[in-house]
């Protein structure tokens, strides 16, 4: 925490020294000086393993009678066949739609009522690497909540009628997503960047239609298992209590004899042109995304990547928001997100800079996003800028630790990435150790101009000719003709 103190003090001195060179008295013309730093409180993450391999993890915080709990299993969408994209998530959804409880079948309605009577919705979903089932409840309801999670994970009915119902709902939900220019630009950019890599799979009405009950049952049997899984508790609970509760509901959960199928992704393998313009006539705005390579979540360089991403586009004062919103008023907000996967070879991550804007300024925004990504290497952050972005990352982490849900998320991420829980508290020191030169080198290596990809989704007629100047050979396509199952974004031409 000493490190953070130094950073904070440096920032203050530099503000007084540079931005407000005029004379002034702190507390009158200038902000008063900050007081002595108080350290970030990182709770201990304690752990014990049940005989079947299930890890039980606890972050204790006893000031309110509330506990968040999440069961995380190694079963992610990276295992989905491209033609059945959405299988992992559909399996997660169906867990809560019917299960055997105390020897009898309870249906979706009854499960929803039972969960909500405990205090919260039963959350379930799949990410790229893991499937998670979670709840937040009053301490007194915790044993019942864990028992419910256990029943839906261990003994779901995975009913065919529920699959049909969930599929129809998901297809309707996609209709809404696909008509929103910001959301659609994100999907198109995702597929255009990853191409044929398993990380590029996107759920579409067609892939949902291809999923059968047999697929769901097989996925459940192969992937939802105690070995490799963890149940994480945060809040008003001790490790001994957590182990007791977990043992009662999960102690008899046997791992299948067959090993879990390996489901590793591979690096980005794009097949679409570098610039894609999608026409969505009548849309209220244009969605603009510029993507660039990012690093593996398994590499030490990930911390440099995090800082470089923050300089570019995390927080209100990041460069993207400065240029697009604050200086030019072109958007309600611009920022950068990163996805990082745990593979050693190839391009393992994707950075995406994005904003939504009026059609007439879509081309200008695309150029600004491109320019800011490239500029990190030519104009690396000053010491003030670097310290501010580091503080943004560290401060966000500190606030995440203030809630039980945040604590569970921190631990679950650490587990999903195969890192030691004892290292959770090293984030501030690691982030604050990154230098401007490292950020510059990172950007020079990963973000040259010819590595960028651009997607604009909007009313192309309203956007005018400027868009055509973004690229000599863009793919121009009607939204209705997109096929997000294809790395090239369109269905192969029929003979």
């Amino acid at each position: 925490m000493k490190r953070l103190l130094c950073i904070a003090a440096t920032t203050v001195i530099s503000i007084i020294g540079t931005a407000w060179a005029q004379q002034g008295t702190p507390g009158v013309e200038l902000p008063p000086l900050p007081g002595p730093e108080r350290p970030i409180v990182v709770p201990d993450f304690e752990e014990q393993r049940l005989a079947n391999g299930l890890r039980v993890v606890v972050a204790r915080r006893a000031n309110l009678p509330i506990v968040s709990v999440a069961l995380q299993m190694r079963a992610g969408s990276v295992a989905d066949p491209n033609a059945k994209a959405g299988l992992a998530d559909m399996t997660a959804t169906l867990l809560a739609k019917g299960a055997r409880r105390n020897g009898r079948v309870v249906n979706a309605t009854q499960i929803a009522r039972q969960a909500e009577a405990l205090g919260s919705t039963l959350g379930s979903g799949a990410g790229a690497q893991s499937t998670t089932v979670s709840m937040t409840v009053n301490t007194a309801k915790l044993p019942d909540a864990v028992a419910l999670i256990a029943d839906v994970v261990r003994q779901p009915t995975l009913d065919a009628a529920e699959l049909d119902r969930a599929r129809a709902q998901a297809i309707d939900g996609l209709k809404v997503t696909l008509s929103d220019p910001g959301a659609l630009s994100g999907l198109v950019a995702h597929r255009a960047f990853w191409g044929t890599s398993p990380y590029g799979s996107l759920t579409t009405p067609a892939t949902l239609a291809a999923i059968t009950r047999a697929d769901v049952v097989a996925f459940h049997r192969a992937h939802l298992r105690p070995d490799g899984a963890a149940i994480v508790f945060a809040g008003d609970i001790t490790l001994a209590q957590a182990v007791l509760v977990a043992q009662r509901s999960f102690g008899s959960w046997a791992a299948p004899t067959r090993n879990a199928p390996a489901a590793a992704g591979t690096g980005a393998a794009p097949a679409a042109p570098r610039t894609v313009l999608v026409n969505l006539p009548g849309s209220g705005q244009s969605g603009v995304v510029v993507s660039a390579p990012y690093v593996s979540s398994a590499q030490a360089e990930r911390r440099t990547g995090q800082v470089a991403q923050a300089v570019l586009g995390v927080g209100y004062s990041s460069r993207l928001n400065q240029e697009v919103r604050i200086k030019r008023g072109l958007s309600y907000g611009a920022g950068a997100r990163a996805q990082a996967h745990p593979i050693a070879d190839g391009v393992a991550g994707m950075l995406s800079a994005s904003a939504t804007t009026n059609h007439s300024t879509a081309a200008q925004v695309a150029e600004l996003l491109r320019g800011e990504i490239v500029r990190i290497a030519s104009e690396p952050p000053s010491s003030d800028e670097l310290a501010a972005r580091q503080a943004t990352i560290v401060g966000g982490f500190a606030r995440q630790l203030e809630t039980t849900g945040g604590l569970v998320g921190v631990a679950a991420d650490q587990i999903a990435n195969g890192r030691a829980l004892a290292d959770i508290g090293t984030l501030p020191a690691e982030i604050n150790a990154i230098t401007s030169a490292q950020v510059r080198d990172f950007a020079a290596r990963h973000w040259p101009r010819d590595a960028l990809r651009t997607v604009v989704v909007g009313d192309l007629k309203a956007a005018g000719d400027a868009l055509m100047k973004l690229d000599a050979q863009p793919l121009v396509i009607e939204a209705q003709r997109l096929d997000l199952r294809e790395a090239g974004l369109t269905a192969p031409a029929r003979p």
């Binding site: 730093e37 909500e116 009577a117 205090g119 309707d172 809404v176 209100y316 907000g333 401060g395 606030r399």
Partner: protein, 459 residues
């Protein structure tokens, strides 16, 4: 990032303040606690009023090293000048620009750059500015809030650039979102007379008409200590806070001019009506039903919140279970209770599933509401929604900003920060008969506006 209006925040805040529990409930895991003893610890705070009229609420809690600083001004969308809808919200954005001693965006230097964050929202009755910082930066934030309360110094370039941002916000929220135009139509259809009839986000044309002189006048009129509540929650010593508040806010002048107040009364609606609304991209048509409701201080508010939860909160809520799950005619269905300081509105809505026409959604929505209003309600179902509301309140009160938000809404809507604690007891006390009485009175006994939302050219 979101210096924006959060029309829907009001509902969430009411749901969230709903119910939480005291230390006595920290029983061991083995003990079964009966429903009636599920309580949320009250938010403990101290309040005082400075000589210049500034209300100050202090909520110390030293379990984390952060502090929330919020200033709630009693000015909102209802106070937009004539022909300037959206102005209170546009003004909110200008409060992040320069002041006598601060540069534009210096608030970000004082918050984000040291590991904190800041934001603001504009609602019907209030504009609130909220920051969280490492607690050793508290004094700096107090200085800065006092500075922008008294000495905003905007220029034309700042103003025009920020107005363009707000117009993009309008496009993003209202035009780009496939259901933005539908939700934007609530205000003009829910109110006929009260200025609540203008959406808080305004219109592109009215925003274009605003000038930097309007900004200056608005600041002088509404941004003053006797129209504001300062709330500080989290890691601080009360004596130090008092000293700093006196130093930075104590010297601010209370203007001699009165604060303009909206006095319009929304008359009872005498007849229902049907409205057809079209938009260029409507992937699935929708229907929205609106009724009049009382203001937030009304005795029926707790029962309406429980009715909302029974009809619309969670997968097992009545509307979701019936229209989405069982009948499969809706993709989404919900019920909202929006009680503002002067008046309110109730809304039921559904987005169609598959090929369902929006007209086919009205009867099923009404059927569920009428069934709740007239048929017996199981005790277990009442317990379910109360536990849910209580747990949500408990979860939201884990952070300094969550506790400060609960107090702020109580100040604005109830004129009393203690309401944040009292309302939880009131929710616990709501009976099935109360729910039925308020639905019969305000929904079944009221006149309805029905909005059909469809793709332009298709209906």
């Amino acid at each position: 990032m979101n210096h924006g209006p959060t029309r829907r925040l009001l509902l969430q805040a009411l749901g969230a303040t709903a119910l939480p529990l005291p230390a006595a409930a920290q029983s061991t895991l083995r003990v079964r606690v009966s429903e009636s003893t599920l309580r949320v610890p009250g938010i403990e705070f101290a309040q005082r009023t400075l000589a210049n009229g500034l209300q100050v609420i202090a909520q110390p809690d030293r379990t984390s090293a952060t502090v929330a600083v919020q200033v709630w001004y009693r000015v909102g969308g209802k106070d937009d000048p004539p022909g300037r809808s959206g102005f209170a919200h546009l003004f909110e954005h200008m409060m992040f620009k320069s002041t006598r001693y601060m540069k534009s965006e210096q608030f970000d230097r004082l918050t984000e750059d040291v590991g904190g964050d800041n934001n603001a929202f504009t609602a019907e009755d209030v504009t609130a500015y909220h920051s969280v910082v490492p607690s050793n930066h508290l004094e700096r934030l107090l200085w800065a809030e006092a500075e922008r309360m008294a000495h905003l110094a905007v220029d034309d370039a700042n103003f025009k650039s920020e107005r363009a941002v707000v117009q993009e916000e309008f496009r993003q929220r209202v035009l780009a979102d496939p259901y933005g135009l539908l939700f934007n139509a609530i205000a003009p259809n829910a109110f006929d007379v009260h200025p609540y009839k203008r959406p808080v986000v305004g219109s592109i044309e009215d925003l274009d008409a605003a000038t930097v002189d309007d900004v200056r006048a608005f600041h002088v009129t509404f941004y003053r200590p006797d129209n504001a509540t300062l709330i500080v929650a989290g890691d601080f010593e009360t004596a130090r806070l008092d000293e700093w508040v006196d130093r930075y806010f104590g010297a601010l002048r209370r203007p001699s001019t009165p604060i303009p107040r909206v006095s319009a009364q929304e008359p009872p609606r005498t007849q229902g009506r049907e409205v057809d609304l079209h938009a260029p991209n409507v992937p699935l048509p929708a229907v929205m039903l609106l009724w009049q409701a009382p203001n937030a201080r009304h005795a029926d508010s707790a029962a309406l919140d429980v009715a909302q939860a029974l009809l619309g909160a969670g997968e097992s809520s009545r509307l979701n279970e019936s229209l989405v799950y069982r009948q499969r005619i809706a993709q989404t269905a919900g019920f909202d209770v929006s009680l503002y300081a002067d008046a309110g509105t109730l809304s039921a809505y559904a987005i169609a599933a598959g090929k369902t026409a929006p007209q086919q959604l009205v009867a099923p929505l009404m059927h569920e509401i009428e069934r709740l209003a007239r048929a017996p309600i199981a005790a277990a179902e009442m317990d379910k929604v109360k536990t849910r509301l209580l747990t949500a309140a408990l979860a939201s009160r884990q952070t300094p900003s969550g506790r400060a938000m609960a107090l702020g809404w109580s100040v604005i809507l109830r004129n009393d920060p203690n309401a944040a604690n009292r309302d939880l007891d009131a929710l616990q006390a709501v009976t099935a008969a109360d729910v039925q009485r308020v639905l019969q009175r305000h929904v079944l006994g009221g006149k309805r506006v029905t909005i059909h939302y469809t793709q332009a050219g298709k209906a």
